[in-house]
Symmetry: C2
Subunit: 166 residues, 2 copies
């Protein structure tokens, strides 16, 4: 395989195996400022749009509700990383919108997520501290190894540039 | 096992198996503001102090060098998480200090990290874009399952309170 094919294969493997996304925000001043982070299980549709359903009991979710700046990351498990210094990962900014409970898309997406994410969705779908967010990736950085960092763009994480740093 | 013994066991397993720590910062304005994050392999000493060696080519490391607010997280792999909604994880604030190359502790710690983190350390220990940081955990939240979030304190992540939210 050529290098680029190897990178594309590593990207596809990450996108098809990762089940949680790291969500990190900069908290508003009234929440103490500084960063906060958490994991969310996600559903990714055919257009590459991510959906997460997550509780405002976490500070980073309250920040999301207030349109705080946010960054996401998908990462390969440590156990499948041949070199722990080079976990395959992609971090990205995104357009984030909330889909409220009275939106026509809400219940169908709850059904879809229940199909993909298992029985827990059935338990929590009626918990009103949980909120549905749609995440459309914008720009990011894909890392597949040493000196293998790539600028990516859009929901398919299209590679646009080989970076000298990450 | 009692519930608390189960939680302590989950914590010990996480602390003894995790090989990378998530580092997230709020970037200074001149870096564009907002959050940034990355993974670092770490060495954790007998006192529970973490050491990471990481490059300023990443924005979150440049933010660390400028004493930006920072939060850390250790997380169990997805593949060992029975329920993907409840990955075992601990997020924490910490006292972070830089150990510069002219510090007497620098070379011995490079040797120790090379022993623990493998051959890559031998390659990068002389790269001057990399910096050594000592991280002493202060306060955090340990999550071991649904409705199982605990306030933790100090380098041993001593459980101080069962939280009703995380």
């Amino acid at each position: 395989m050529s290098d680029l094919k190897r990178v594309e294969a590593a990207k596809e493997k990450l996108l098809t195996t990762a089940r949680t996304v790291i969500v990190t925000t900069a908290l508003p001043e009234e929440e103490g400022g500084g960063p906060d982070l958490g994991f969310s299980p996600f559903y990714r549709d055919a257009d590459g749009h991510f959906y997460i359903y997550t509780s405002h009991l976490s500070a980073h979710v309250r920040a999301l509700l207030k349109d705080a700046p946010v960054k996401f990351m998908l990462a390969a498990d440590e156990s499948v990383s041949q070199n722990i210094w080079a976990r395959v990962r992609v971090s990205f900014t995104a357009d984030v919108t909330r889909i409220t409970r009275d939106d026509d898309r809400f219940e169908p997406m709850m059904d879809t997520m229940q199909d993909h994410l298992g029985a827990t969705m059935g338990l929590i779908r009626n918990f009103t501290d949980f909120h549905l967010f749609k995440i459309i990736p914008e720009k990011g950085v894909l890392v597949t190894g040493f000196a293998a960092a790539y600028a990516v763009s859009g929901p398919q994480f299209t590679i646009t540039e080989h970076l000298s740093n990450s």
